[in-house]
Structures are given as structure tokens and as C-alpha cells.
């Protein structure tokens, strides 16, 4: 993770990142309140999630009072500038519209897919995934890898890590979204990995990778139980509200289901029958290896 922390600008960069997270969260809440959203009765799931995260993080206080969150004096770390601009574009600047309409009336499904692709392939996110796959999970040591809820970028990052370490990883990318599956099939034919669309065609694997999947799943326990049934080990990486709050509102707009605390993530993994071998971090991203 040293490389990723360097990209972020060390502990000072991480602190700035957290300050901006909070600042953007407050900006989104202010926009929602100014546009007529009520704290006690949020108009829809997006605003409801925004308010619940803001309450949990102390940005929204008793009696619907917005805490004073000053703008950080220094600019955000360069590596995450695009991320915060994305939050502005997709959440803060459109909050008024979300108060009045469901997200599907604000963002078309084509736009949602384009935003999704931009998010998963953003340089900071690619650097993060390569750091955790190479330095923490050491995925190159496993022969057969199952990437659950892979999306379009994750398999490429895993294969890159394997290639850098001179390992021949046998990767199966799993996905349930049919549109992403179609993209995966195209990538797979060029990059030599397998694709499993849906839950039916899975085999047995040395390790399953579950990276920022649970908040998209209608049944996150089923995801982890399926991983348990098909893999000997599991590397779990999940953004949690203690670290990143506003990002859950952003993914909610794009179709995700809910947010998690690190304790909820860990409890789900145990409930699915996994035994923790090593926990690397609780937040901003929950990172752990299970067997």
C-alpha cells in the first residue's frame, strides 16, 4: 500500500481526502435542504441515504441542523481531483434534481454506464486496486482466481498484477449485469480469461476476490456464501461509511443498493462461513483475507 499512499500524498493526503469527503457530503446535504428536502421525510432513497450517512458522520445534527464544515484550505490530492469532480458532477450539482425526481429520471441508463466506466477506470482507483491485489492479497500466488462482480476493469487489473509478477493466473470474471457481461466477453477473448455470467457456471477456485461488490448486491450474504462454496480463500475489499460516505450516494445514483459499516461487512463474512486470516484495514476501505 506504500505506493498507493505515495500517490495520495502520504498521511497528509489521506487526511485531505477525508476532509474533502466530509466537505462534499455537507455540500450535498445543503443542496438537498435548500431544494426543499425534509430531514424527517426524505423524498426518495437517494436523499434518504444521503441524510442517513450525514447523520452517521455528524454532518447532519439533531433537528435537521447542518454542521459547519469548512472547505479545506489545500486542494485535494492530485490523484483524486477527478474523483471529487465526479462527485460534484453526479451528486452535489444534481442534488436539487434528485430531490424532485428519481435518479433514473435525472441520469439516463447510458449515462450511468458511462459514469460507471469512468469511475472504475479512473487512475486513482486502478492504482488502488493494483496496490491491494499486488501488495496485500498477493493474487499472483494463486493459480485459479474467481473475480466476483468483476465489472469491466477489475479483471484487467488482476491480470496486470499477475503479469508484473511473471505469474500465469487462471482468471474467471463473474458478473450478473448483462450489459457488463457483454463487454467482459469481448475483453476475455482478447486477454485470455473466462467469463461466468450469472451464478450457475462457477467452478472451484483457489481464491475469490470480492472488491466493492456488496453495496451493489440485492443479497450480499448470498454473494459471500457463493464465494465460500466455490473458493478456498477470499480477499474482501469494501468501501465503508466510516471512510467514504458520499461515494455511496454516488453509486446509489448509478444503481447500487445500500451502504455498509466495516463491522457489518465483517459480520456478513463470518455469517457466510468465512474465517478471517488477516485484516489489513477497517476503513476507509475494509480489507481482509479470509479462508
Amino acid at each position: 500500500m506504500r505506493e498507493f499512499m505515495q500517490i495520495l500524498g502520504g498521511s497528509r493526503g489521506l487526511k485531505l481526502f477525508m476532509q474533502y469527503e466530509r466537505y462534499k457530503l455537507a455540500a450535498a446535504v445543503r443542496a438537498a435542504l435548500e431544494c426543499g428536502a425534509e430531514c424527517r421525510k426524505p423524498p426518495n432513497e437517494v436523499v434518504s441515504l444521503l441524510f442517513s450517512i450525514a447523520k452517521r458522520k455528524g454532518v447532519l445534527k439533531e433537528g435537521c441542523q447542518l454542521a459547519h464544515v469548512p472547505e479545506p484550505k489545500a486542494p485535494p490530492p492530485q490523484a483524486v481531483e477527478e474523483y471529487f469532480q465526479l462527485i460534484d458532477d453526479l451528486v452535489v450539482d444534481r442534488m436539487c434534481e434528485y430531490v424532485a425526481k428519481p435518479p433514473s429520471d435525472v441520469i439516463t441508463s447510458e449515462e450511468a454506464l458511462a459514469y460507471y466506466q469512468a469511475l472504475v477506470s479512473a487512475p486513482f482507483y486502478v492504482a488502488f486496486r493494483r496496490a491491494i491485489y499486488g501488495k496485500l492479497a498477493k493474487l499472483y500466488k494463486y493459480r485459479t482466481i474467481l473475480d466476483i462482480g468483476a465489472g469491466t476493469q477489475d479483471p484487467l487489473d488482476i491480470l496486470d498484477v499477475c503479469e508484473i509478477h511473471g505469474a500465469r493466473c487462471e482468471l474467471t470474471a463473474h458478473e450478473v449485469d448483462q450489459r457488463i457481461c457483454a463487454d467482459l466477453e469481448r475483453l476475455a477473448s482478447k486477454h485470455g480469461f473466462n467469463v461466468a455470467c450469472g451464478w450457475e457456471r462457477l467452478g472451484n477456485y483457489d481464491i475469490a476476490v470480492v472488491q466493492n461488490v456488496l453495496h451493489w448486491a440485492t443479497d450480499p450474504l448470498k454473494v459471500l456464501m457463493t464465494a465460500r462454496r466455490h473458493a478456498k480463500n477470499m480477499f474482501l475489499s469494501q468501501g465503508v461509511v466510516e471512510g467514504s460516505g458520499i461515494v455511496f450516494v454516488m453509486t446509489k445514483v448509478l444503481g447500487s443498493i445500500r451502504s455498509f459499516t466495516w463491522k457489518e461487512v465483517e459480520a456478513l463474512a463470518r455469517q457466510a462461513g468465512w474465517r478471517m486470516k488477516r485484516r489489513y484495514a477497517k476503513y476507509p476501505d475494509y480489507l481482509a483475507l479470509f479462508a
Binding site: 477527478e82 469532480q85 460534484d88 447510458e110 458511462a114 466506466q117 503479469e163 508484473i164
Partner: protein, 113 residues
């Protein structure tokens, strides 16, 4: 002083070479590997992955067909404009670029004639 590493062009199979500088090796040692763009004598572009020993791990062809006659529309979000502009200017080098451009077109953020 720099050394040269040889590779086969992934498009036409021609022999090609790139200079391996100490800076490049240092960067590869820090990051595990580095990527660089190179052209073979026949002009085909390839993305090379080079390890800390100066060994070329892979040479992948660059897609250059996305360059011409495309422009970013006003619908494109501010956050993604710089990346889209880079893709349009340099061509879609990676699979991620190809997918982003494809989705951006579908979303009406980029139009091509």
C-alpha cells in the same frame, strides 16, 4: 548511458527496439513495471510493459482508430472531459479507453462523424 531492448511489433511482426534508460529501470523497480508507447520501423504503435531488469514483458497493439472526427459535446461532465480529450487526441490506447469512449458515445458525451 542507455541500453536497448528488442521486441516484435504485435501488428506486423517486425523487429523493433526501444532505449532502456536508468530512469526507466528505476521507475520499474519502484512500481514493479512500467508502460511505454513505442513505434516499430513501419510506424505501428505498441504499448510495452517493461520490468525492472529491462525485459519487455508484453507488447500490445494500440488502437488508433478512435482519433478522427470526434468531438466532446456539452453534455459531457466536467470531471471526465480531460480524460475524453486525451483519448480523442492520442487514440484509445487501453481497453479502458476503448470502453470509456464507447460508453461516452452512447451517452451523447462524444459524437463522431
Amino acid at each position: 548511458m542507455s541500453l536497448a531492448a528488442r521486441y516484435k511489433c504485435p501488428v506486423c511482426n517486425a523487429d523493433a527496439a526501444v532505449a532502456i534508460t536508468p530512469e526507466l529501470l528505476r521507475e520499474a523497480a519502484e512500481k514493479g513495471a512500467v508502460r511505454m508507447l513505442a513505434r516499430c520501423p513501419r510506424g505501428h504503435a505498441a504499448v510495452l510493459t517493461i520490468d525492472q531488469y529491462g525485459y519487455i514483458r508484453s507488447a500490445l497493439p494500440v488502437r488508433e482508430n478512435a482519433r478522427q472526427d470526434c468531438e466532446i459535446t456539452e453534455k459531457a461532465p466536467t470531471s471526465i472531459r480531460p480524460r475524453l480529450a486525451a483519448v480523442l487526441e492520442k487514440g484509445a490506447v487501453t481497453e479502458a479507453d476503448v470502453l470509456l469512449l464507447e460508453k461516452a458515445k452512447a451517452a451523447g458525451w462524444v459524437i463522431c462523424v
